[in-house]
């Protein structure tokens, strides 16, 4: 009798524990997840992250909270995620900056410390000039620069920024030289283009779309596979015979070492949120081409981007000596 009671008690305990453990394993996430954005609030990365966070809540059951960790051209936030516990509660959103900084700044974490999670969208660059210059297409643009190198004043991000990379791509492809003037951010850059301080720029489409419509600037080409929905009458570079495709990519990532099941949960939740049609529509309105993909696609995109960007940085003497491959 006593033995039976003890056995019953023991088995109850074991089952109870097993149940609790099982429940624990199934209940990721148990608390809010922190989504780290490396740029200040209001920018396109921040907006994209907030839109996704808004949609994810329902599937995960726990809120996704946006945390802006800014500074050092994005490296502060990258480091924050790299050093976080790989338990799935800290995720980040990265763009081209992460790649560039990892080669330029020895203090920025190398991309090996991260595990890409989900590929969200790409925001292609474009080339535009002020309308009062009388340049109507790429050929005229290139011709003007070949006739007198550096004759066009061009605005872009400081070295290592997105539009800087687009600009260098353009310069190398067409073998021309622009007079490059740096601006801290796309807003200032657009302002300078509108005020006439600079004559050409390589901004993402969404930033200058309405100025193009208003007639102040003329966009000569978009660096994407397909025409942008915001500027349907502007041809891509590819259409004009130049294989120039580049843009800022939006990839969610986590620190290396997150357990596989947690990663799976996150991956499917994020994918579901991104594939929400309302979100897709909003992204299109903002000029992003979205083709959501899971971990493998994200990894692939990252590798492709590295292959394109590293040579540019190397040629521009921007790679820190300790980071040369």
């Amino acid at each position: 009798m006593k033995v039976r009671k003890v056995a019953l008690l023991l088995s109850l305990i074991v089952f109870g524990m097993g149940g609790v453990v099982g429940a624990q394993a199934q209940s990721f996430p148990k608390k809010a997840i922190s989504l780290v954005v490396v740029w200040p609030a209001g920018g396109s990365h921040d907006i994209a992250a907030r839109m996704v966070a808004e949609n994810i809540d329902k599937s995960l059951g726990e809120p996704v909270v946006i945390t802006n960790v800014t500074g050092a051209a994005g490296s502060n936030g990258m480091r924050h995620v790299a050093q976080a516990e790989p338990d799935g509660y800290t995720i980040g959103l990265m763009g081209m900056h992460a790649l560039v900084q990892s080669f330029m700044n020895p203090n920025a974490p190398s991309l090996d410390s991260f595990e890409p999670l989900v590929f969200m969208a790409q925001e292609p660059g474009s080339l535009q000039v002020r309308s009062d210059l009388g340049i109507n297409n790429i050929e005229e643009y290139v011709q003007k620069l070949k006739d007198s190198p550096g004759s066009l004043i061009h605005g872009n991000d400081a070295m290592g920024g997105n539009t800087f990379v687009y600009t260098k791509l353009l310069e190398e492809y067409f073998d021309v030289e622009l007079t490059k003037v740096p601006y801290p951010g796309h807003a200032a850059n657009t302002g300078a283009l509108v005020s006439g301080e600079i004559e050409s720029a390589a901004m993402p489409v969404s930033t200058i779309a309405q100025h193009h419509e208003a007639g102040t600037v003329k966009t000569l080409g978009v660096m994407a596979e397909e025409r942008s929905s915001l500027l349907p009458d502007v041809p891509t570079f590819k259409e004009q015979g130049h294989n120039l495709v580049s843009g800022d990519y939006y990839i969610f990532f986590m620190p290396k070492g997150v357990p596989d099941e947690v990663a799976q949960t996150l991956e499917s939740a994020f994918l579901k949120a991104i594939q929400n049609p309302a979100l897709q529509q909003r992204m299109e309105d903002m000029g992003m081409t979205s083709s959501p993909g899971g971990r493998d696609i994200a990894r692939q995109v990252l590798a492709e981007q590295e292959a394109i960007i590293y040579p540019i940085l190397l040629n521009g003497d921007l790679v820190h000596e300790s980071l040369i491959k």
């Binding site: 922190s34 909270v65 946006i66 945390t67």
Partner: protein, 179 residues
């Protein structure tokens, strides 16, 4: 450069005339203060090869132009202050013993804050803040009343209140991820 010279001259001319010996000491210390930072900054500039390389000629608009001018200004200003203080002192000077004790609490605050930050990472926000607040409230209450337990009780509950309110507002409302 000319603008800077004008500005400096202007400032010097419009300086108040008479200074007490206390103020003179303050001037000397202030001068040394600025010179210290000028030196630190100078070291930072000179030891930064990347910076020097991209500067090119001295006055071209490179990344070291404004820092250079600023440091120069700090040096000149620091020396001016030093001289002004020394000049006022030249006519006899008997310093009072500086009262170091008055800074006691201030220094204690700084040290305790550093400890607070350090312990926040280990013990979490609520606990370390609570300890910090209790510690300070008790220390500061000592002179107010000697009613013993009652004062201690009030201090502790206030400490708890402060910690909780700040936690609620910042973590729940603003969603700041305090450790």
């Amino acid at each position: 450069m000319a603008l800077l010279a004008i500005a400096m001259t202007n400032r010097v001319i419009s300086e108040p005339e008479v200074t007490s010996s206390d103020q003179a000491v303050q001037d000397i210390l202030a001068g040394m203060f600025f010179l210290f930072w000028a030196a630190l900054g100078g070291y930072g500039l000179v030891s930064n090869d990347q910076l020097l390389a991209s500067q090119g000629s001295m006055l071209s608009a490179g990344p070291a132009l404004i820092p250079g001018l600023t440091l120069a200004g700090l040096c000149v200003g620091g020396v001016l202050l030093l001289l002004k203080g020394a000049w006022s002192i030249r006519a006899g000077y008997s310093p009072d013993r500086p009262n170091w004790h008055q800074h006691g609490y201030a220094v204690a605050m700084v040290i305790s804050l550093l400890a607070l930050v350090g312990s926040m990472q280990a013990a979490g926000f609520l606990i370390s803040t609570f300890l910090f607040c209790s510690g300070w409230l008790l220390t500061l209450s000592r002179r107010i009343a000697r009613e013993g337990l009652r004062v201690i009780g009030i201090a502790i509950s206030c400490a708890a209140l402060i910690s909780c309110v700040i936690y609620l507002v910042f973590v729940e409302l603003v969603k700041v991820p305090l450790p």
